[in-house]
Amino acid sequence: MQSFIAALLNSLDIAMLLFIIAVGLNIIFGVLNIINFAHGGLYMLGAYFTYALVARLDLPFWPSLLLAPLAVAAVAVVIERLVLRRVYGRHVTDSLLLTFALLLIIDESVRMIWGSGIHTVRPPEILRGNISFAGVSYPSYSLFVIVAGVVLLAALWLLFNRTRIGRIVRAAAIDRDMAQTVGINVPLVVTGVFAFGAWLAAVGGVVAAPMRAIDPGMGDRIIIESFIVVVIGGLGSFPGALLGALVLGLIHGFGGRYLPEINLVLPYIGMALVLLLRPQGLLGRGAPA
């Protein structure tokens, strides 16, 4: 029982980190209709900015949680305006290749700036210990990740369903031309959405920084995981990102514990099963896009 609870908690904290990253990927896909390979790079930038702020400039963790994602969002604005803008309206293959190229560029730039060493960031003081309940002792930082994911989930739900900005973004996602004719500044919305998606990737990077090794391969590792999440949940679907992240979290948390021999391939089996049975993803929109 205890091992079951431990595996469940573990699945949840993996899932929440994946959710934060994948939901950004899905929001970008929903409005821009691009599959953003560079998302992994933006996540990595979030982690490296945190490292720079916390370990090199000796700033506390909390202001970094604010500053690093904003800095990444600023980078994203530049990327969107100078690069991505040129391939809108083209086939999804083009944006896939272009953002893959961006991932290569970000990977190498990070190595040029911060070197190829392995770095770590300490969790903030109050999140360093363990918390125990129901006979299970669990790292408080992992619990913080779960809480952060839930808070973000609620905030995003409110943003998209209860605010004017949310309605504008949803309108732009459904029909850009229509949104334009009713007086919405669509190019601005598009830039904003991309920056917001990047901000979410970077929040994921900051949250990951105190618990995962920061090295130049971290962006490549996360992006395939995120793809699996959005495919399982449904491309472009906001609740789908949550469900996909939970499924993949459970695959990792329980698969590693109870089916270790095939843990390498379990996520792909999960993704293939979903694609075969319900190609648009568990919560995807109707017909295949």
Binding site: H119, D220, N263, L264
Partner: protein
Amino acid sequence: MARLRTRLPLAGAAAALVLGIVALTAPAQAQQPIRLGGIFIMSGSASVYGQFAQQGIQLAVDEINAKGGILGRKVEFRIEDSQGKADVAIQAARKLVFQDRVDALLGIDSSGVATGLVPVIPELRRPLIITHAATPDVTGKLCNPYTFRISVNVNQNMKAAALVAADTGAKRWTTIGPDYAFGHQSWEYFSKYLKEIKPDVELMKETAFPRFGNEDFTPFINSIMAAKPDGVLISVWGGDLVNFVRQARNLGFFDRGMQVLMTVGAATEVLSALRDEMPEGVWLGTRYWFGAHDNEINNAFVKAYMERYKTPPSYNAEGAYAAVYAFKAAMEKAGSTDPDKVAAALSGLTIRAPNGEITFRKGDNQAVVGPTWGRAAAMSAEHGIRMLKPMRAFKGEEVTPSVEETGCKL
């Protein structure tokens, strides 16, 4: 393409390179420089190993050139990126040999790359000194007269680990290792040697092999803790090891009184990432430890390296550094850079390296060399990493299996 070039700093770099070569070769020497070709991982998450090796080679080459070079000729080196892939490394080796006309090859960071490249080496007809990859096969069943290894291999390190493990008194052993050849071979050899030394140990069936590049080790840590072993061999390495240690620490893995042996735990890049998060008291192994060898070569090497790169040399830097000196000794012994003569000279050659006198054994071309193991002790204020205490630098003779055992037939 011309348009592209102007946009890149490449043109500048190319110009600088050309100028550099011109400047180097300018002193009206009729003789060609001696060229060394390195193949390391220079991109991706393991590129830190390539970076250390590059620094080690640079230091050795500069020292040698300052003292007149080899056979009166300057030494140059060039490094190609293996990307950690065998086919890329093979093509890189061909380029170094046939296009760049290097006289000798060194490097190789991963076992998979080594097993792919080594069978091709005789066709390239250049001596290769492996400085990092630890798979037993390249000085075992795949061995050939051109391939040498200066670094500690899996057998040697696992023999030492078994000796350390036997001393701890722990009875029930298991492992957590990366799910590829290295992790499985480490456990295989460790089991074999430990059973030989202490027939009453129990080698558990409950092992854990998380995939390489796995970022969350929690499920595997929990499984192993639930199996209640007395001792655990950890062969996870690099960034994975950093992740593993931090997660295991949070889960109380190190508080259960288990004996924990990390086969590549005393790698400086891991220690400097973890700092005091590396728990005190665990056993850490490494192919070379900068503080383990009190001889003048090591003292000079560590001092020069620290001055230049502001960090203590990792095992990979030492392996690459020593390999350059091994080529120097072999070329001077052969009196030429002819690849066959250099390879013949390397076989059986004894050199003085930072980690002591080491010999490339005739029979399998493996250096008779041992790892250093020690317990993680207090932090060093100077280096920002944990030091090893007590510490044991194994002699090559103690841990190297006989040539017959390796399966090498030269």
